[in-house]
């Protein structure tokens, strides 16, 4: 360009600007994942390395019922909570998109469940579901029904707490998508005689597709990581142990770096795999679209 005095060229500057981010992510995110693969190939007793173990930690993990039950819970939790959050979030977003009075207030309120720590939401719903003081039981007249003390209902309570916290967030993302849809489109469908549900199904939802897919990607990947709610509400009892809770057990409570790393590597492959399948489906809408926004 015109200036050729002091200062880096644009090309050099670009490299200098990107370097710190790449370095940080490589050192603190990528390296540990690779290091885990290394750790997982050894046999430990407590924290002392005993011998090279090959893939025996993996075969042990894959033969362990606890792993499969954690995987099952994680998948059930993800599918049910993401589905419920999507339906409720879409309902909220459609309502907020149409209402005129009170929209600002609702929009503000909807941020509150998102902003508070998950641990707080977990404690709140723990006590509301718990037999003492039994708030939910007293509202619905259920006596001493033990939500958190039996398989099935414990899962329900955890899913419920997650839906409460995250459905508003999904609503926020979908509302932003709804507001990019020109109202002429739904209005012309109205003129053409389309009913309420027809307008939703044939006009709004197809146009909302990119926003829906991105919201589902974010929520699915996030739900697969579930840890806080389980750790606080049940500690993994009553068939509610998630993959993250299971892995964490082998770090502090019953330390075994080898076996723990094998489990964490399996979890990593699984969650990243599901995420990448999603990204693949999104393809054009996401990664490439980002490349073109320049």
């Amino acid at each position: 360009m015109t200036q050729r005095g002091s200062g880096l060229s644009e090309r050099a500057l670009a490299r200098v600007f990107v370097a710190p981010s790449l370095l940080l992510m490589a050192l603190v995110a990528l390296f540990p994942v690779l290091y885990a693969v290394g750790l997982s190939l050894f046999e430990y007793s407590r924290r002392r390395r005993e011998s090279f173990a090959g893939l025996s930690n993996y075969t042990e993990a894959l033969g362990d019922d606890r792993f499969w039950s954690a995987l099952w819970f994680t998948l059930v939790f993800t599918v049910t909570s993401v589905a419920a959050e999507f339906v409720i979030g879409l309902g909220f977003a459609l309502l907020m998109n149409q209402a005129f009075r009170g929209r600002g207030l609702t929009r503000a309120a909807i941020l509150i469940p998102w902003v508070i720590p998950t641990v707080i939401a977990a404690q709140m719903w723990f006590f509301m579901f718990n037999v003492t003081p039994g708030f939910i039981n007293s509202v619905f007249g259920l006596g001493d029904f033990s939500w958190l003390g039996q398989p099935g209902w414990a899962t329900f309570a955890i899913v419920f707490a997650d839906v409460w916290k995250t459905a508003p967030f999904v609503a926020l993302l979908l509302l932003a998508g709804l507001q990019t849809i020109p109202s002429e489109l739904t209005e012309s469908a109205l003129v053409d005689g389309a009913g309420r549900w027809q307008r939703l199904w044939y006009v709004t939802l197809p146009l909302l597709r990119p926003a829906i897919l991105v919201a589902l990607l974010f929520r699915t990947v996030d739900a697969l990581r579930v840890y806080d709610l389980v750790a606080v509400m049940t500690g993994g009892a009553f068939d509610t142990e998630s993959l993250s809770v299971l892995v964490q057990q082998y770090v502090v409570r019953t330390p075994d770096p080898g076996y723990g790393s094998a489990l964490s590597t399996l979890t990593f492959i699984l969650i990243l795999g599901i995420g990448l399948v999603f990204v693949r489906l999104l393809g054009r809408d996401l990664a490439i679209g980002r490349g073109e926004t320049r």
Binding site: A99, A109, P117, P133
Partner: protein
């Protein structure tokens, strides 16, 4: 639209309001109940009420937890915003080889499950002495929040007219000067939005915090870990009063921040995802 329809919709909005706010009414009322009242009576409005639980929270050094969380979240935010805005600017504006590969890599890191880092980082931190240290937490937080920061800021930088930098360059600014004197100030709203979102994420993190710094508020135990770990007089019984009071102490400032910066946060959240 008729007047009645308008009011019906406003009434339906009340459902959303109740969904978002009602649990907090329960939280505040429960935290104000004295003695074992909170544990024995589900009736929200049955007293006696008082501030004993709040006194209890601070007797258990909760102010130190607040300090730790504040420091850790602030460090995460500063590093993320500085490092992330450089990368985002390069991705949005500068000539960069393999841009698509870089973006894909950043996206992949955003898909990493944090738990994959827990066993290996624990071993590394143990050997270099970063367990129970602020650094042991804000370094991984930074790595995890960088992708989102980069996505949000790339969107904001891309929206700034390119002519402004070109004008600066014609006037003799170097590429770096064009960035930090012209573009960075213009992107301030975006930077602020990213900062709040990163801060909230770091403040709320629980998995790494409870593994790498599970105890000792005087060193590095954070707020969520303390709230999960409060112990009562009776073993195996969660002290409902202390916990709910601590929750209120944390929730109030966060709600104020969420309300005050509502527009910024929403803009940032949607820039990081929907707009893609």
């Amino acid at each position: 639209m008729t007047r009645r329809r308008t009011w019906l919709k406003a009434a339906l909005l009340l459902v959303i309001l109740a969904w978002c706010l009602f649990p907090f009414l329960w939280l505040v009322m429960t935290s104000l109940k004295l003695g074992d009242r909170a544990l024995n009576s589900p009736d929200l409005f049955q007293g006696p009420f008082g501030l004993d639980n709040y006194r209890n929270v601070f007797e258990q050094d909760f102010q130190l937890n607040l300090r730790n969380s504040l420091a850790i979240a602030a460090m995460t935010t500063i590093i993320c915003v500085v490092v992330g805005s450089l990368a985002a600017y390069a991705l949005a504006r500068l000539p960069l080889k393999r841009r698509l590969l870089l973006l894909t890599g950043v996206l992949a890191v955003s898909l990493f499950p944090p738990v994959a880092l827990v066993p290996p980082l624990y071993e590394v931190w143990r050997s270099i002495g970063l367990l129970n240290k602020w650094e042991g937490l804000y370094l991984p937080y930074t790595a995890f929040e960088l992708p989102l920061t980069i996505f949000i800021l790339t969107t904001f930088y891309a929206a700034i007219p390119k002519e402004l930098e070109e004008a600066a360059r014609v006037d003799g600014a170097t590429p770096f000067q064009a960035f930090y004197k012209v573009v960075f100030p213009l992107a301030a709203p975006g930077v602020f939005a990213a900062a709040i979102i990163v801060f909230v994420a770091a403040w709320n993190e629980f998995l790494l915090a409870s593994t790498f710094a599970p105890r000792n508020p005087e060193i590095a135990q954070t707020v969520p870990v303390a709230i999960a770990a409060f112990t009562g007089q009776v073993e195996f019984q969660r002290p409902i009063g202390t916990i709910t009071a601590a929750c209120v102490v944390v929730v109030i400032p966060m709600v104020v921040v969420a309300l005050a910066f509502q527009r910024r946060i929403v803009a940032g959240l949607t820039a990081g995802s929907v707009k893609g």
